[in-house]
Symmetry: D3
Subunit: 143 residues, 6 copies
């Protein structure tokens, strides 16, 4: 019987992190108010420069208050976008993680169902529009 | 020189619609407060049963007030989900149409940039999580 | 060691279903001639309105005789389309379930191989046509 | 104003083909009963070995009678699979070309609508199954 | 508790292969210098013609020296392309297998991180270009 | 007749850029040795913070020498990855732009055909591995 699927690289254990990686791990836990560093970040840490690039970008976009930015979108809307993208791409890790995040931000199971219903609907209409190669409507010029 | 890409079927012109198709066309314009029937619906009308199925579903999910439902999500959030899915799938018709919808609901160009920045970010992290085959974090049991 | 991946919500057990959900569960088993309600439907049941929308649409398209419709496609062709879409999207649950369905409708393992060979071929040519950005052939006007 | 999108390489004109490419072009027209070589093949011809590989595979799977094979699927079902894959991937060139092929094989516009309705439905359920990370049903062992 | 996901068909065991299948299995092990036949090929073997088609194509493109071809790309670059495609599609089996291949060809964990960083980056910019429906730049004519 | 598809926002003209946007535009032209700012960057400039985030990341990964980094991959390999991802996603703008880049770095049309042949091959095997839900081979433990 085959092994269950595993990460293709060994995640960096929190306790063995040093230097830049240790700092970023601490920042992730503080910014996201987590008691552990999720596997995603511990895998990226196998290339510290890449860890830094992805964390900087995600922190800026998803935790704007932590970098002194003001966002036009509220935190739940931002996580809903993350979930919609992840469900559309069928990314298991990401779907699990962003579902946990929207739940933590107050979305109950029935409302989660509404989000996914809309995700499902537009994956359907996307296939229809592409399947019929529908020409764009003539819209008013851009302002 | 090749022709520009065109719909693979001839959309049903509004003025030639009769019966169920004409009723749905009228409902689309009234519900969506539009002066014309978008090409998407006029193409689906080549199979009237299918037009009805898709419109019923979209009306229920995206125009809940029109069917006496209460939605847990506001109209802008619903359209943002539609745009996130369409950009992720690269559906040209749908992206154009849902961008027009979020603009009409008040999202300005800079805030649109924030939505797409988040869409871009998570298409990136999805590829990373899949590219590393990252194992799910052990999350607390479902409530 | 991480837990195996699990549904992000708790499926509604058949025996705890009431009202509209219980009715739909019974209809699914009767229409699909199944002795149990698949997890897909029990998860959707966490939002009963969504369950109803998806079941109504799937029943209409995939079990037309149950709603008095006549389909132009035979049941095996309809399930082959479902499998082709699911394999292309890499949806594990759906691929398993539609493979079971085509097998039940008489497709043996070798013929399943032919279906997937064609699915594989066109995922390849799609990437080639997009990778070369090939312009459409000038086709005769639509009739 | 930007140019319309064009192939990223110059397709090989039919009249300038020689040797292996000319032979394959002739075989494509004879096998597919076409009066011209579609752009897809003329672009692949910029790498003659690749042209040969793709044509051999496509001819074997889609024109089995031409290579003395017997297919378990009829020609229309084979083209429907091609269309389902192409619409799911949103490949413009391929969607146009396979729509033309199913029309030529007798599928009228309304039946095309039924095919695409099913394609749309399962793109939707795929996103739902992935969005909820639904665990597979326990199915009977493989025979 | 549901079973872990399994192949939807029973892979052909190496020891039960005969005729064309046994020959191809031997060729796979010799060409790829492997001590076993990977599950991918043993599953394809349920349709021997399909096994032959896929192996011939993969051998030609990925092991050109075995068929007397000269490739313009080195073996590591070819496997990196395979990994980039597999991560983008989120194919678990393929990602695992091509990661093993690039590691065997000398890419260490940090350089793997660089490959995936670039894969992640362009999955992001792809979603942005599609999400904004950006018009192509006017490029100089093809040579 | 419908308009050809256009960007959903108005790109920022080079001559109207000021402050941070003007600086980044200058850096893009200098780093990429271009005489104009591609539409991609002029569209992102509608949200200057986003422009900065994407450019910083792309510059770091694709132009490492410009930020004092050493890359383990050569420039052509990096662009080939970008093209493989873009062709797989079917992103028209990106495919055109990365094809231009690999050509500029010396890949001729026949070698481009080899890259795309491999991209096509693995889009095919990905669909097969997912379509059969093939279980991972038992690989040796990670080092």
């Amino acid at each position: 019987m085959a092994e269950p699927r595993v990460a293709t690289v060994r995640p960096v254990p929190e306790e063995s992190a040093t230097g830049k990686v240790a700092e970023i791990f601490a920042d992730i836990k503080a910014t996201k108010k987590l008691s552990f560093v999720p596997a995603f970040w511990r895998v990226l840490a196998t290339n510290p420069d890449h860890l830094e690039l992805v964390w900087t970008r995600l922190k800026t976009l998803m935790h704007p208050e932590a970098v002194g930015r003001t966002s036009r979108l509220d935190p739940l809307t931002r996580e809903i976008i993350a979930l919609a993208v992840s469900a559309t791409n069928g990314c298991a890790y990401c779907t699990s993680s962003h579902t946990a995040a929207v739940r933590k931000l107050g979305l109950d199971v029935e409302a989660l169902g509404e989000v996914l219903a809309i995700v499902g609907l537009f994956n359907s209409t996307n296939a229809l529009a592409d399947g019929y190669q529908i020409e764009p409507d003539v819209l008013p010029p851009l302002d």
